[in-house]
Symmetry: D3
Subunit: 133 residues, 6 copies
Amino acid sequence: METRHERDVNKLKEFTSQDAGSTHDGIANALEQLAPAIGEWITDFAYGDVYSREGLPNRDRALVTISTLVTQGTEPQLALHINTGLTAGLSGEEIVEAIMHLVPYTGFPRVLNALDVAKSVFEERGLTVTTTV
Amino acid sequence: METRHERDVNKLKEFTSQDAGSTHDGIANALEQLAPAIGEWITDFAYGDVYSREGLPNRDRALVTISTLVTQGTEPQLALHINTGLTAGLSGEEIVEAIMHLVPYTGFPRVLNALDVAKSVFEERGLTVTTTV
Amino acid sequence: METRHERDVNKLKEFTSQDAGSTHDGIANALEQLAPAIGEWITDFAYGDVYSREGLPNRDRALVTISTLVTQGTEPQLALHINTGLTAGLSGEEIVEAIMHLVPYTGFPRVLNALDVAKSVFEERGLTVTTTV
Amino acid sequence: METRHERDVNKLKEFTSQDAGSTHDGIANALEQLAPAIGEWITDFAYGDVYSREGLPNRDRALVTISTLVTQGTEPQLALHINTGLTAGLSGEEIVEAIMHLVPYTGFPRVLNALDVAKSVFEERGLTVTTTV
Amino acid sequence: METRHERDVNKLKEFTSQDAGSTHDGIANALEQLAPAIGEWITDFAYGDVYSREGLPNRDRALVTISTLVTQGTEPQLALHINTGLTAGLSGEEIVEAIMHLVPYTGFPRVLNALDVAKSVFEERGLTVTTTV
Amino acid sequence: METRHERDVNKLKEFTSQDAGSTHDGIANALEQLAPAIGEWITDFAYGDVYSREGLPNRDRALVTISTLVTQGTEPQLALHINTGLTAGLSGEEIVEAIMHLVPYTGFPRVLNALDVAKSVFEERGLTVTTTV
């Protein structure tokens, strides 16, 4: 039977199995001397306690995550979670539409910077993404 | 045939037809002397140009909108868009799960304030919403 | 001859002489036991060192101040500085246009909340302000 | 022997035992139907995993918490954590000095709003707090 | 006679005709596959519906724009709009004064980062800008 | 006897005497043509009027400063003030614990970016900093 920690790690894998670029493993490794608890909190609290909840599927959680990161302008994490969003079932077009949808709520600057980040992630993953006028 | 402005108004109605409380009409009316262009921009730009795009359904647009407003802490608009989200097809439980999902990204304070707003909106609409531990 | 502190107080008066409602005096009085240095910093640093600089007239300084406060969503201070802006030479219409101009940069929520604040300040001062569609 | 959850609850009590006003219990109770997991996350993640760490005493953790809440402008939580800070060993004067220290980093508006909150909390707890010019 | 779209494009040109460096054209081109609607929204909504309004001259609109971007810390857009501000009639000195004026409202960090951006833009345009102590 | 300006400069030195990397001197020099008043305001207002106050020791002021800068995500200034914090008496471990403490209040993204900044500063100063799981 799956332990709690195994559940948490498996949930994390649902979002990261196909990441070509920077991953949560990379974050945890970079901090393993300075702040090893952070890697545990991401796995056991964020992916375990929060992401593992029923009531909202992985794809929708990715949409919520991308929306808050565009709003905050935290670009390294946005790149990471456009990656996890693609792995969790969002199409590139849906991600671009979600970012564009934020113009009336955050204004253009945050959206333009987020689209630059999305463009780079799509190129790294070899995805061609286009939307209509 | 539907004119562009009729399309915009109809899109807006998809989000507001069941609102018991404060609505976009209320906003437009309050500003009709001071800044009447704002009401037009909300209808023709936000609901017309942005919300009317294909590629992301109304329900998902509501999820993105709620996520940015929780992150920004703009509570009057959050109350409005929990209402539009319910009308556009989100369940109360999904809205609560989406707000809770933001804890690892915005911290607890924004989430606690947003849950207070959600609680009030659900009470006004006579909805009983519960989630699991 | 004017001392430095007299210069600072005089500069402050250029912005507050006609305020009907809440003023910097009110702020300083409310904090005179808890944090009396704050009132001095507002007079001597903000109005003395910063506002007293040549190179940008009072009216333009008020426009910059209103723009940052709309963006931050700090509403009590926005009310105060719509008042100081009116005293410093901005018309109500210019203030409304400046707030509306922020939609593409901050999104609608901050702008709608700011227009509510402006509406209240204009009513307190007995001003009728209208803009075109 | 203390279980993990007992440890978490005890850590929370170190910050809340003397609170006259709004407390974490109040938050948890208000959300016990809508979002009962939030109360658990506050106890077990925030107070358990984070606050219980060695390496920074309770008083310093309260100082960090107050600083971030002033910066974010989330006033209900600021009131709560000025209360927990007083319980955890900060004096009212230290709290006021910490808030005033933020002027060069956040500007006056956030600081003025925070001092208003602090004033109310001190009055509720019957504390007389004064600082020098 | 000028069509609506020609009006929008002409308004945009009033702000961009002298830009040596990054321009709105660059933004639109970079997104022409990923999100071509964004370029249209910038021209037709931002420059057409918003900037084209009477009641506030171009120069003042540039001042408002720079103020919000300093406050948000969105540096690529700040560089762009220091450029558009110079084209729209602000002097380099006025831009520096406006940024400095924000210290009491945003604190030093945002202002210092903005002054670095301004310094780079002035150097790219070959402008010598100095202000007094 | 110490003049006011000498007091201000001496206070600044208490925070910067051991800085290997970027310092306030560097900031002032970079702006000495564009905005020389900024350097004076940092010395005379920030370090003179604010930091020189009794009632909170240098080490605690550094803790408050780091907390607000992590929250704002202003990374160049965070690097500077991790340096001033180390000089003012905080250990590297305390700084890491303070940043980690912010997870429940700002979420993971700001904290992860801040830990990256801290890691770079510690490496530049040749410090080995580790914390426990």
